[in-house]
């Protein structure tokens, strides 16, 4: 066997990363053994089918990936901080920006949002779990092992180096002979299957499991956004699945779908990638709109303004998201007609998005606005995201895009969209729902410190890029000479990146500090909020609601508080719950082995693990476990305990 292809060429940074990965792994194993936590880990987490725990694991993984993607970002910013920097070489820089993009979008923003979906959506609709709890566990473990597969590429074999969009022929075996892009095709495939299953699961959950009385137009806005997002997932992800499969065939089996010879067409990849890739942006941004809608309503003490137009604007955005993909390559020479069509569809998205902005502003109007940490992120989102939006309209103009395309202007634009549009949203949602899940709030003073660091540094880091783009600086260039004049603004951008890092460190420190010192919340509704999730106790019992609520109005919990109408009318009965299962985790592990074997063309292990996957799937299909019942007495006892009464 050729061991060389497993090695990554010698650089102190990579050896450092290898050492730290090994040390961290040893540390975790020793720690688990010492504290005798293996059983706990397996019983309570690895085999769980509880939507809240799965959600927490998604968010933990996302935070971990935020750190990884953030380190990538810092390395890139340092390398381009000054002209002719020698911190990273070209190949290494290319790998770093590729993994930065992949990790931040697919393994940070998406799982963070899916994590919040998992925790909150069943609660918001008054359900006890998602429609298919085991499928949910499968989704998580496929995502997790897909993400891990991509992450080990850094130290085993080399990372993908053709950009997160992996344009062919650059990503073909001919121009990218390392295993990096094999990792790309397989890691994304594995986690993508997980995401697709999430899409199916949540559509069914939201359509079939709402509490009695909750008509579609009475759903909380976050649930609406999640429903629409999952419809997009179900339509968009199969395109990625197919594109990645063709890519894998090209790279591993010598097929010629996207290559230069034998009728292959590189432009086909670009089209397939963006037919998925543009809806993907809305997959992370729409739930963010939902999160903001909840937070704005809660902290203005008002119902959401223009609920119906909010729903319809999201529906229109989701439809248009499939009609704009070619704006990612106006410069491919498809001519005036095609470019004009895609310009107009792209600009049209500004209309429903504008509707949302104005509805939020009018929700604030006549409200009584309190500036909590989640609300601060939400309020910062409006002006910053509007900059992202209007620059989006500018980029949508095909002619002008000939000057913006591939430049730092574009980079600035999509960071101005995705950071307020997704990252601030998940941070806001994290602060907002944290007390629901853990029973205490994150500290407000530390939270606001982190907020100001993040907001100001974000603008310092990314606003200069608009100007750099117009000066002619392209994206993805690992170095530049002093006479280009890119130096000062690039340095400013680096300073902003350092500030962002400080902000995130404070944010993480806040989690630690609050866990130790923050007072515990007992009534389950610390923000005086409006939707059903706040009607449960904090922390939430496994069955969520002892009695399924009956919904009469949009902000059901708020109405019940204001009008003193009880939400829970029925008596407590025994509760049916799904049993835990280890099969999804095992399936994830086997997928990981299969993926890794395919990356390195190790056919025997790949075939064995392929058979293994089929066996586990068959075992899951014929599993006759119908769950269990929690008896009435146990439910009553748990409820009393959560209310602080002694049993």
């Amino acid at each position: 066997m050729d061991w060389d292809k497993f090695k990554v060429h010698g650089e102190p940074l990579i050896y450092g990363a290898m050492a730290s990965i090994v040390l961290a792994t040893i540390g975790i194993i020793v720690g688990l053994t010492y504290f005798k936590k293996w059983g706990y880990l397996w019983r309570e987490w690895l085999t769980t089918v509880d939507h809240k725990r799965i959600g927490i694991m998604y968010i933990l993984a996302a935070l971990l990936m935020l750190f990884r993607g953030g380190v990538d970002a810092m390395m890139m910013k340092l390398q381009t901080a000054a002209p002719d920097m020698k911190f990273l070489d070209s190949q290494h820089y290319n790998e770093v920006f590729t993994t930065h993009g992949l990790i931040m979008i697919l393994f940070m923003a998406m799982p963070f949002i899916i994590g919040l979906m998992n925790v909150i959506v069943p609660l918001q609709i008054g359900a006890r779990d998602v429609a298919f709890p085991r499928l949910n566990a499968v989704s998580f473990w496929l995502f997790f092992f897909g993400a891990m597969l991509l992450n080990i590429s850094f130290v085993i074999g080399g990372s993908p180096d053709a950009g997160w969009s992996a344009y062919f022929p650059l990503a073909s075996i001919e121009f990218s002979p390392t295993v990096g892009n094999n990792y790309y095709s397989l890691a994304l495939q594995i986690s993508g299957i997980g995401t697709l299953l999430t899409g199916v699961n949540f559509i069914v959950t939201i359509l079939k499991m709402r509490a009695p009385g909750m008509k579609l137009m009475k759903m909380p806005m976050f649930t609406w956004s999640v429903l629409i997002t999952n419809v997009i997932i179900v339509f968009a992800f199969p395109v990625l699945t197919v594109a990645l499969a063709l890519m894998m065939f090209d790279r591993l089996f010598g097929s010629q779908f996207f290559t230069m010879a034998n009728g292959g067409m590189d432009m086909l990849w670009a089209n397939l990638f963006w037919v998925w890739g543009h809806p993907e942006v809305y997959i992370v941004v729409l739930p963010a709109f939902g999160i903001y809608s909840e937070i704005i309503a809660t902290f203005s003490k008002k119902n959401l303004y223009g609920y119906t137009s909010m729903v319809f604007s999201m529906l229109i955005i989701s439809l248009l998201s499939f009609l704009v993909w070619a704006h990612h390559f106006y410069t491919m020479g498809q001519g005036v007609m095609v470019n004009s069509f895609f310009s107009i569809t792209t600009m049209a998205i500004a209309v429903p998005t504008g509707v949302k902005i104005f509805n939020w502003l009018f929700t604030l109007r006549k409200g009584r606005i309190t500036f909590t940490t989640p609300m601060l992120y939400t309020l910062a989102f409006i002006p910053i995201f509007t900059i992202g939006g209007v620059t989006g309209v500018m980029l949508a103009m095909a002619s002008a895009d000939y000057q913006y395309h591939n430049t730092m202007f574009l980079v600035a634009h999509f960071h101005y969209v995705l950071i307020p549009g997704a990252v601030f949203a998940v941070i806001a949602g994290f602060h907002y729902w944290f007390p629901k899940v853990f029973g205490f709030r994150l500290n407000e003073r530390l939270g606001k410190h982190a907020f100001w660091w993040i907001i100001i540094s974000f603008n310092v880091a990314f606003f200069p890029l608009f100007i750099l783009g117009l000066m002619g600086m392209t994206r993805r260039q690992y170095t530049y000479s002093a006479d280009t004049g890119f130096g000062p603004l690039s340095m400013l951008s680096f300073v902003g990146a350092v500030g962002l890092m400080i902000g995130f460190v404070i944010l993480v420190y806040n989690i630690y500090w609050s866990t130790r010192y923050e007072p515990r919340d007992t009534d389950g509704d610390p923000w005086d909020a409006r939707t059903l999730e706040w009607a449960t106790k904090s922390p939430i019992p496994a069955y969520n609601f002892a009695v399924v609520p009956t919904v009469k109005t949009r902000d059901a919990f708020w109405t019940s508080k204001m009008d003193k109408v009880p939400l829970f009318e029925d008596k407590i009965t025994k509760i049916h719950m799904p049993s835990n299962t280890g099969k999804p985790f095992i399936l994830g592990v086997i997928f990981f082995v299969a993926g890794f074997s395919l990356v390195f063309s190790l056919w025997i292990p790949a075939i064995i693990s392929g058979v293994g996957i089929l066996i586990v799937l068959a075992a899951m299909s014929f599993d006759r476990d119908h769950g269990f019942y929690i008896p009435v007495e146990e439910v009553i006892a748990t409820e009393k305990k959560l209310r602080g009464e002694t049993v």
């Binding site: 107009i344 606003f463 392209t474 004049g485």
Partner: protein
């Protein structure tokens, strides 16, 4: 939250602090296409600043007026379902703005996709620009000249770049003369540029294509017609010919400096979608009508099996592509 005001004042001053517009290449156009785009960009910035202003004024007003204060502790916000008229306003006005910008977009896209209006009656100077690894080859079929990593053009002359690639997708971009366009291996694309000021402009590949991407720059030198003719004459006298073997070697090299030759590679390595049967052996009498950017059937470019040969050169329409496929070593 009113702390945000100073924040944005800071950004505004940041823009003003810049060393003027001259260092912002895109807004410092030296040709009609770039000028059209610069005007479009500035127009769109002005419109968008208007949109931003509306949102920001409303935002600041709402936050100042309705923030929770000691004095309004008893205030209970009203229940509001929405207002049809208000919502109609913020649907209609954006639609008008988008419609206006759409018209501007279509019009300017037509403008820059064609020969500039001032030079409509000229026969454009055709230059084939092809990329390989991290180099640019510029072939002047009319003059019978080929250069590497620099391109000289006469001012006040319509120039039609025909772009293609010997590998990865690259994008030819000379910001001060106009927008960019992709160069791809299986399709010829056309980029119309002209310069109206004599000067040296930075051109580069804008589309990431691997290890040497950052260094894939070239100089575009716009010179007077007289200087241009002199340069052509000078090249004819001093430079040597480009042989097929030398060209093959050139393609394999990752980086080279400037090179100049007295014939083009087009004769022995025709571009995609523009085949040898349009061309005499020395490439001088090319069929200039075939400059469209229509998708070509790939089978014509990469035939398999190879068609029966008609001439010595076009028996395998694109030998360099296949040659490179097998010999390219990656990084």
């Amino acid at each position: 939250m009113n702390k945000k005001g100073p924040l944005y004042a800071l950004f505004l001053s940041l823009i003003l602090l810049l060393p003027g517009c001259s260092s912002i290449a895109v807004l410092n156009p030296k040709g009609p296409a770039a000028r059209t785009l610069s005007d479009t960009i500035i127009l769109s910035i002005v419109v968008m600043l208007g949109v931003l202003a509306v949102v920001y004024i409303l935002y600041v007003f709402v936050l100042l007026k309705y923030r929770a204060k000691k004095s309004n502790e008893d205030y209970i916000p009203p229940h509001e379902e929405g207002n049809k008229w208000l919502e109609a306003i913020w649907i209609t006005i954006p639609i008008i703005i988008v419609a206006f910008l759409s018209v501007v977009t279509v019009k300017t896209t037509v403008d820059v996709e064609n020969v500039a209006a001032d030079y409509k009656d000229q026969k454009p100077l055709v230059i084939y620009a092809s990329s390989s690894n991290w180099k640019w080859h510029f072939s002047y079929p009319e003059e019978g000249i080929e250069t590497v990593n620099y391109v000289n053009i006469p001012v006040h002359r319509a120039v039609e770049f025909r772009l293609y690639s010997f590998g990865t997708i690259s994008s030819l971009w000379i910001p001060q003369l106009g927008g960019q366009k992709y160069a791809m291996s299986d399709m010829l694309t056309t980029l119309h540029l002209s310069a109206d000021t004599v000067g040296s402009y930075t051109g580069r590949n804008a589309n990431f294509n691997g290890k040497g991407f950052a260094h894939m720059e070239f100089e575009a030198l716009a010179m007077t017609d007289k200087d241009y003719q002199e340069w052509v004459k000078d090249v004819k006298e001093t430079a040597g010919p480009l042989t097929e073997d030398e060209f093959k070697n050139l393609l394999k090299m990752e980086y080279v400096g400037r090179k100049t030759y007295t014939n083009t590679h087009l004769s022995f390595s025709p571009p995609p979608g523009d085949h040898g049967d349009h061309m005499s052996n020395n490439g001088k009498e090319m069929d200039m009508d075939n400059g469209t950017t229509e998708h070509q059937d790939n089978k014509e470019i990469h035939p398999s099996p190879a068609p029966s040969s008609e001439t010595e050169f076009n028996s395998e329409p694109n030998p360099e592509l296949d040659e490179q496929s097998t010999t390219h070593e990656g990084h």
